[in-house]
C-alpha cells in the first residue's frame, strides 16, 4: 500500500515536470502566431475583464499601501522641484526667445513636422496588471488591445514622458514593455549644448536608474539635462519611437565615468512604479512601414 502511494506520487511528480519541460521547449521555439501563443492570447482575452474589475476594486487597497511610500517620496520631490523651478524660471526667458526664432526658421525652411506627436492618435488606457518580478521582466498590462487599434510596437507615454512600447496584443488587452525592462534599448538625444546621441538602457538591479550609453567620451552633458527620444529613420527602418518624446533628466554626469564607460545616469520623467493610466500612441495613419528597435 505504502509502495503504491510512493510510486503514484513519484509518477505524478515526473509527469508534471515533463509537461512543464515540454511546454517550455515548445513555447520557446515557437513564433508569435503559433498555437501555444494563440492559447495564451485567448486566455489573456478571457482574463482581462476579470483583471480589470479586480484592478478597479483593489485600487483603494493599492493606494493605502502606496500612501506611506508616496508621502515620503512626495516630500523629497517637493524640495527637489522647488530648486528645479527656480532654475527653470531663469531658463524660460531664454527658451521663449529660442522658440520664437525656431518658429521663424521653420517657416523660412518649410520643415516637415509629420514625425511629431500630433500625427499620432493618443489612446488613454488603464493599467490592469503587472508581473510580480520587475527585476528581469518589467512590463504592465493595459485594458486596450487590437480591437482599439493597438499594434505591437506602438509607443506608450505617461506623465509627459516615455513609458515603453507595446510588445504583445490580445483583442481587449495588451502588454507594454517598459524602458526599464532589460530587453529595452532606445536611441536617444541629450539636450546638451551639442545634442549628443546615445543608447538608453536600464541599469541592472536598479531599473529606475537609466543609463545613456555610447556617448562621445568628451560629451558636455550636465546634471538636469533633458533626454529625449532620438527617433532615427533610415530608408528601410524607422525607430519605434517618434523623435523628441521626453524620457528623463540626467541625474549623474561624472566626467570620469563618461570618459571610461561613455555613459551618464538618467531618472525617468514618468513615475513608472505608480502608473494607473498611460497613453498609447496609435498611428500615424498609413505608416505601416517597417519599424525597428535598436538592440535586442
Amino acid at each position: 500500500m505504502y509502495d503504491k502511494q510512493v510510486r503514484r506520487r513519484r509518477a505524478v511528480l515526473v509527469l508534471l515536470v515533463v509537461v512543464s519541460l515540454i511546454l517550455l521547449t515548445a513555447y520557446f521555439g515557437e513564433s508569435a502566431g503559433s498555437p501555444l501563443h494563440s492559447v495564451q492570447r485567448g486566455v489573456v482575452t478571457v482574463l482581462s475583464p476579470i483583471q480589470e474589475g479586480a484592478s478597479r476594486a483593489l485600487k483603494p487597497v493599492r493606494d493605502l499601501f502606496g500612501w506611506f511610500g508616496d508621502t515620503a517620496r512626495a516630500k523629497k520631490e517637493r524640495d527637489q522641484l522647488k530648486a528645479q523651478r527656480d532654475r527653470l524660471l531663469e531658463q524660460v526667458v531664454g527658451y521663449q526667445v529660442a522658440l520664437q526664432e525656431n518658429d521663424e526658421l521653420h517657416r523660412v525652411l518649410a520643415l516637415d513636422d509629420s514625425n511629431g506627436l500630433d500625427a499620432y492618435d493618443k489612446r488613454t488606457v488603464r493599467v490592469i496588471g503587472r508581473p510580480p518580478n520587475n527585476l528581469l521582466l518589467d512590463r504592465l498590462q493595459v485594458d486596450a488591445g487590437s480591437s482599439a487599434g493597438v499594434r505591437v510596437g506602438n509607443p506608450v507615454i505617461a506623465d509627459g514622458g516615455l513609458v515603453g512600447h507595446v510588445s504583445f496584443v490580445a483583442s481587449d488587452s495588451s502588454f507594454v514593455t517598459l524602458v526599464t525592462d532589460p530587453s529595452s534599448s532606445v536611441s536617444v538625444k541629450v539636450l546638451d549644448t551639442a545634442g549628443d546621441t546615445g543608447l538608453l538602457k536600464p541599469s541592472v538591479g536598479d531599473p529606475l536608474d537609466l543609463l545613456v550609453q555610447l556617448l562621445p567620451r568628451h560629451a558636455r552633458v550636465r546634471q538636469e539635462d533633458v533626454v529625449v527620444t532620438g527617433g532615427f529613420r533610415t530608408t528601410r527602418l524607422e525607430s519605434l519611437y517618434p523623435p523628441n518624446i521626453p524620457i528623463g533628466r540626467v541625474t549623474k554626469a561624472d566626467p570620469e565615468e563618461l570618459a571610461s564607460d561613455q555613459q551618464v545616469h538618467v531618472a525617468p520623467i514618468a513615475d513608472l512604479r505608480h502608473l494607473d493610466f498611460v497613453q498609447i500612441l496609435v498611428g500615424p495613419t498609413g505608416s505601416d512601414g517597417e519599424r525597428a528597435q535598436v538592440g535586442p
Binding site: 503514484r8 506520487r9 505524478v12 511528480l13 508534471l16 515536470v17 509537461v19 512543464s20 519541460l21 515540454i22 511546454l23 517550455l24 521547449t25 515548445a26 513555447y27 520557446f28 501555444l36 492559447v39 495564451q40 486566455v43 489573456v44 482574463l47 476579470i50 483583471q51 479586480a54 484592478s55 483593489l58 485600487k59 487597497v61 493599492r62 499601501f65 502606496g66 511610500g69 493599467v127 490592469i128 496588471g129 503587472r130 508581473p131 510580480p132 518580478n133 520587475n134 527585476l135 528581469l136 521582466l137 512590463r139 498590462q141 504583445f168 502588454f175 532589460p182 530587453s183 541599469s203 541592472v204 538591479g205 536598479d206 529606475l208 512604479r273 505608480h274 535586442p296
Partner: protein, 191 residues
C-alpha cells in the same frame, strides 16, 4: 462530494491568488521590489496538504501565472512544482510542529522562486549582467516574502481547513497528548 472539497477550494485559492497578485499586489512596491504572494501560497498548500497536492497546485498556479503574464510557459510551473513538493515532503517526513516553520518555509520558497526565476531567465537568453544591486533586490524580495509567510500560511490554512485529508501521524500524536499511551509506554507484546 467531500472528495472534491479540497481540489475545489485549492482551485479557487489559486485563481484568486494570481488575479489579486497581478491586479493589485504587484503594483505596490516596497523598497523598489514587488511582493510575490504566489510562492508563499504554494508552499503553504504543500505544508498543509502534502507533497502531491502541493506539486499539482504549484504546477497549476505556475502555469496560470505564465499564461496570464504572457511569459514563457513552463518556467514558473517548474519552480512552483518544486516548492509545493518540497514543502509537502517536509510535512510528511519531519512533521514540523514548531509555529515558525511556515516562516522558514516561506523564506526558502521566496528565495527559490526569485533566484530560480532569475536563473531561468538568464538561461533563456535575457541579457543582463549580475550586479550587487540585483542581488540586493533579491535579498529584499526574500525578506519581504519571509515577513508575509506567517499571515499567508494562516490565511491558506483557514481556506483549506476542514477539507484536508486525515493525517495518521497527527492523529497518533493527538492520542498521546490527550492521555493515550505512546508505543514506548505501552507494555511490549514481546516482554
Amino acid at each position: 462530494m467531500d472528495g472534491y472539497q479540497l481540489p475545489l477550494r485549492l482551485a479557487a485559492l489559486g485563481f484568486l491568488t494570481v488575479v489579486i497578485q497581478i491586479a493589485a499586489v504587484s503594483q505596490v512596491t516596497v523598497f523598489g521590489v514587488s511582493v510575490d504572494l504566489s510562492p508563499l501560497v504554494v508552499a503553504s498548500v504543500g505544508l498543509l496538504a502534502g507533497s502531491l497536492p502541493g506539486a499539482v497546485f504549484g504546477f497549476a498556479v505556475g502555469l496560470f501565472v505564465d499564461v496570464a503574464l504572457v511569459q514563457t510557459l513552463g518556467v514558473t510551473s517548474l519552480l512552483f512544482i518544486a516548492i509545493g513538493y518540497w514543502a509537502g515532503r517536509l510535512r510528511e517526513l519531519r512533521d514540523p510542529a514548531h509555529g515558525l516553520t511556515p516562516l522558514a518555509v516561506g523564506a526558502a520558497a521566496t528565495a527559490f522562486a526569485t533566484i530560480g526565476f532569475s536563473l531561468m531567465q538568464f538561461m533563456l537568453g535575457v541579457r543582463a549582467p549580475v550586479s550587487w544591486l540585483l542581488l540586493r533586490q533579491v535579498v529584499v524580495t526574500i525578506l519581504i516574502g519571509t515577513l508575509l509567510a506567517l499571515p499567508i500560511y494562516a490565511l491558506v490554512r483557514r481556506v483549506v481547513q476542514g477539507s484536508l485529508p486525515d493525517d495518521p501521524r497527527r492523529r497518533r500524536r493527538r492520542a498521546y497528548t490527550t492521555g493515550g499511551l505512546s508505543p514506548l509506554q505501552r507494555p511490549s507484546a514481546g516482554r
